[in-house]
Symmetry: C2
Subunit: 236 residues, 2 copies
DNA sequence: ACCTGAACACCGTTCAAGT
DNA sequence: ACCTGAACACCGTTCAAGT
């Protein structure tokens, strides 16, 4: 439903991607439609095809946009390499948590990235900058390679969370207790874990404090990699 | 295009899910269509709706099917708990690598699981069995909780691989060298890493040996968690 | 009781036609 | 040169009708 045709800013690829990002943020990626993006730009859907080859290309562009946003946020940290004597883990950690802040604003990003296999240019450049930190920190190129695989999506600030019971349902103590009892018979080990979590409820944010969990898992991983680095250094 | 109507096996939910699994394995999850699943069963698409409430419910059922397959494969291991004096890591490791074998047969499984937020019953039971191993191994319920988050999708045998350059393109040494030179100017750190990988090419399977990378990352994670367990035990 | 046919609303995408 | 209108093929899904 484009408006009658007053003077509009000209359509550009950047405007298309910005509109698509806004649509994804608001209605979710699974409801993003060429026609919805076009509506937001006061244009017919077919006009988009002048700036993106297909819906798939648009989604690819969306990934690049978020990665650019991550890179920009990391640039403001202004500390591309570990300083002399500084642990590489601290530098990598700050970058990763900065990436996480950006990705939290675009919760559809993880699912998009798992859908497509290839890495675009901006993602490669981000990885190159990140790799520079680990090399400067003393990882060998071989260990760097394995470290990137080990960190996986954590490098971009998110993890695939499998174990995520409904947080809201468990926020209320009474409901949580009821859920616990219902679960105890069939799922004894999970029930034990839940009992503890419910008990700690006032010291953490709800059932699963995602930020705390992310940082814990990140530190476990970084520590494990640093241990491998030291082993390697000891041998070499 | 259902056939004229000879005697057929009656449609059941199980047959629908089996057909859908076969379709997903063959054409990929993104091309799975209600009509395609129906065709394979010699039935009209609308007949499926008697056994699944919607396409989304069908996909949910697909997830449950794979998890059941994983659970069945793990059951044949016949070692639900770490034996006395045995490291929990070895038991967890075998289970996870068994899960991986199943998931490798259904490569669409990871993307399906990242798309939907909730955990079905069979996934909860799988997690409960897995949790039992870690508790028997001496992890506290608190640490178990964090361990599950840290392991994330690795518990089911896969990771979100971000850094996956096109393996086939790099299998040929000449092409690999060309790619390396093209990349060296813009991406110095990645180039260093690639140079090493190309050099090692005859000792590993292609550029990225996924199985080896998965096991490396898994061990780094398990070792990190075991270190946390020992810290905890030392304090308690 | 179980499946089918026809239809609806909504996609991505094309292409000739408008300005 | 850039955008639109109409149309096509293909979805998921509904519902009354068939057997």
């Amino acid at each position: 439903m484009p408006v009658s045709s007053a003077r509009r800013a000209p359509l550009t690829r950047a405007r298309v991607l910005a509109a698509a990002t806004a649509v994804a943020d608001e209605v979710g990626i699974e409801r993003l439609t060429m026609r919805l993006v076009a509506d937001r730009l006061d244009v017919e859907a077919m006009a988009l095809y002048r700036h993106v080859a297909s819906k798939d290309a648009l989604l690819e562009g969306l990934v690049e946009s978020v990665v650019d946003e991550v890179s920009a946020a990391c640039a403001t940290l202004d500390e591309p390499q570990p300083g002399p004597g500084e642990d590489w883990r601290a530098v990598a950690r700050r970058r990763i948590l900065t990436a996480r802040e950006v990705v939290l604003r675009h919760p559809w990003f993880p699912s998009l990235i798992s859908a497509r296999g290839t890495m675009g240019g901006s993602l490669l450049r981000y990885f190159d900058a990140f790799s520079g930190i680990l090399l400067a920190g003393g990882l060998s190129p071989e260990l760097l390679h394995r470290a990137l695989h080990t960190l996986g999506s954590r490098v971009l600030g998110f993890t695939q969370e499998l174990f995520a019971p409904d947080a809201p349902a468990l926020a209320d103590p009474d409901e949580a207790t009821a859920a616990l009892e219902a679960v105890a018979a069939d799922l004894p080990s999970i029930a034990r874990m839940m009992a503890v979590a419910v008990h700690d409820a006032d010291t953490t944010i709800g059932w699963c404090d995602d930020q705390a969990e992310f940082e814990f898992g990140l530190d476990v991983t970084l520590d494990g990699l640093e241990a491998r680095r030291r082993e390697e250094a000891g041998r070499g």
